[in-house]
Amino acid sequence: MRFFLYAGLVFVLLISFQNTTYAQPINSLDEIGISINLSPELPQSNQEVTATVSSSNENVRTATIVWLLDDEVRQQKAGDVNFKFTTGDVGSSQQLRVLIKTATGAVFTKSIAITPVKATLFWEGDTYVPPFYEGRPLYSSGSSIRAEVLAEFRNSEGEAYSDSELIYTWSKNGTVLGSLSGIGANTLLTAGPKFFGDYILSVEITTPDGLQRAQSAARVTTQTPQVVLYEKNPLTGVQYHSAITNKPFFAESSQIEVQAIPYFMNVRNENDENLLYSWAINGIEVFGSQITPSVLTIQLSGDADVTTPVSVAIDHRIDLLQTAQSTFNIVFERSARNSLFGL
């Protein structure tokens, strides 16, 4: 059936020209240099793909080009070297074929099989964020990267490959991480970019028979650590929902506790022994608790209304590039302190 279809197409191509020339037999002519390139090169499932035909020897842009997808003519136009289509689901297979009739009357064909797969790289920084924080931990200089890839491959019988069957090749900026790659190596814990740089982390996944391939990549960027300050309320705890910002903070009593949170630093908790806290009130150095240096208790003496700057700097004792600082103004008003809940 396929033979009759191609023969019919060739006949149509032949009679579409007035000059009668001898049609060359249909054959796959890699030796002529016909090639089909896909963009993206490794298409995933349900993805729009652009196929481009080219030849090193023939000027295909003057030829009549017919594109077929699974034996169905999808496009027929002179000089149209590009063809857009959408891949199928994971595990499906599509046959893409191109027929070319040159101005000289020669006919060439080339076909490729497309088996879409799906793969995505996930990554995050191995850094500190407070409990119940809804955002992602980001990478800061000196920390590590946690990464894993989720890939969906199916064999010819439609059965999914498990993670342990697939072959993973990890790369940083194109340099293969041989010791971290291999069969079933779908996760990665590795050093992040140096200083404040970035790199491309990529992974190529192949089936054991090498017939299916997928790739996924991500740019790993460096984030400067941040210190965010919160009031530590004696009843409800740290007010993570509402940070103390650069706007004046009004204290409701003569004593408040301020909690400093070192976002994205290479520590396990906010009072990690590798963190050095430097607090200052009105430029004068003060100290938090020895056990909880991330917390500063501010007690006002006297009845006067007071506005005073409070600052904190956090330094990592080992990863010297991990530093953060913050300053805010705290306002003590007599009327607030004399309220029902003031001291």
């Binding site: 349900n46 799906k118 119940f132 809804e134 946690r146 989720l150 705890g237 509402s242």
Partner: protein
């Protein structure tokens, strides 16, 4: 003669004074009437009302909206023969920080006081509030209810900084509280509220488990080298998505609770945050568009069709309507300069929202209420949920963590003004 003129003059003066006094009394009366009218229409009073009062209609914790309970109160006062427009009713249900709540199948709402961990139940029609459980769990950070509020999971930070989750059976006070594993970073309840799905942080990363609400019958589903995951469970569909950050692409997948098989559904979208529709067939998500502003979109899981809604908003501020076609969203009135969602998550930015209903099929958007403009109250709406009738919404205001509700009015039929030829009102 002179005396007679004097008497006449004094009389005229007295009459003038009387007229002036009368006029002043009428003016003051009008002012008071207007003030009373405005006050009734507002429905919201100063939230610094710190002393609960039993004098208000509706019980101890009746917020200042408590008197807006009847449909009549939702209707603006108007003269006869005018078109009557019903307005949504905004109500503060609890004026202290709340850790979580559930709208029960009966017309009541259960919630947990953040400071003490005590469980309260408020009857919505009459506003009476009773304490259901007085187990003290100080500084509760998060709460989930199960079994229609008959069980509660209270989550807090231990003295050593560990994440602690305890389960209490509120119907059987003799049963001791049960402790689930520590270091549970995310937990969600099954649609039938009889199971929980959670991720537990480990040295290697995190592990996903299914268990009963009290932590028994625990079954490992999957493991990951990453720790920053969000999870959602609707119908029989489990969605796992990366925690969001403004400039970083995120992805999400479905996980089969029986086999652990994963299926990618969303890939490499900056600032991605996703949530399932109640039927588990659609995903509402937001990603960062140009300028780093989150844009809402909907994807059908089966067909893969994606509808970009071109509306700036966060998935966390939205809830699907029971009709499955539309959803309610609290959309920020403005986005101050910043990185989203990170700065919002960190509490460095707080929003003032307006509430809308958005249809996914027609992309029509209907305004419901703007608390800041209409009542002068700023609400950064989170933990939003809707009742089964789709006519009442409940949420926590992130600014002060108080508990609120918005009751949508029933359509009210107005009277036609024959003279003016106005259309019949709704």
């Amino acid at each position: 003669m002179k005396r007679k003129q004097l008497y006449i003059g004094i009389s005229v003066l007295i009459i003038i004074l009387i007229i002036a006094l009368l006029g002043w009394a009428i003016f003051i009366g009008q002012q008071q009437q207007r003030l009373q009218q405005e006050t009734e229409d507002l429905g919201y009073f100063d939230s610094t009302l710190s002393t609960p009062t039993r004098d208000r209609e509706g019980g101890l914790f009746n917020g200042a909206f408590g008197n807006i309970l009847n449909n009549n109160d939702n209707v603006s006062k108007s003269a006869p023969d005018e078109v009557v427009v019903a307005k949504p009713a905004l109500r503060q249900l609890y004026n202290l920080p709340t850790a979580g709540f559930i709208k029960k199948r009966s017309n009541a709402i259960r919630f947990v006081d953040k400071a003490t961990g005590h469980v309260f139940e408020r009857d919505l029609p009459d506003g009476t509030t009773t304490r259901i459980d007085q187990t003290t769990v100080p500084q509760v950070q998060e709460v989930l209810f199960v079994n229609d509020g008959d069980g509660v999971l209270r989550r807090y930070i231990g003295e050593d900084g560990s994440l602690i989750t305890i389960y209490s059976n509120l119907e059987d006070t003799e049963t001791q509280n049960a402790s689930l594993p520590t270091q549970i970073s995310e937990i969600t309840v099954s649609p039938d509220e009889n199971e929980v799905f959670f991720s537990q942080q480990t040295l290697q990363g995190s592990t996903f488990y299914l268990s009963s609400p009290d932590g028994t019958e625990k079954k490992e589903i999957s493991a990951s080298t990453l720790r920053g995951w969000n999870i959602d469970w609707q119908n029989d569909v489990l969605l796992v998505s990366q925690k969001a950050s403004s400039d970083l692409p995120g992805s999400a997948y479905l996980i089969n609770a029986s086999t652990g098989t994963k299926t990618l559904v969303l890939q490499q979208l900056k600032g991605l945050s996703a949530a399932l529709s109640p039927d588990g067939k659609n995903i509402l998500y937001n990603y960062n568009g140009d300028g780093g502003i989150p844009i809402l979109a909907v994807k059908n899981i089966n067909s893969g069709k994606t509808t970009i809604l071109d509306i700036a908003g966060f998935t966390e501020k939205c809830v699907w309507s029971p009709n499955g076609v539309s959803f309610f969203c609290a959309l920020p009135n403005e986005f101050p300069e910043g990185e989203y969602p990170d700065e919002w998550y960190q509490g460095r930015v707080l929003f003032s929202d307006s509430l809308f209903e958005i249809r996914t099929d027609t992309k029509q958007i209907a305004h419901i209420i703007s608390p800041q403009a209409e009542y002068g109250v700023s609400l950064d709406i989170t933990n939003i949920s809707v009742n089964t009738d789709g006519n009442a919404l409940f949420f926590i205001n992130k600014i002060d963590q108080t508990l609120w509700s918005i009751t949508l009015p029933e359509e009210v039929e107005g009277v036609v003004e024959e003279e003016s030829g106005d259309e019949e009102g709704i």
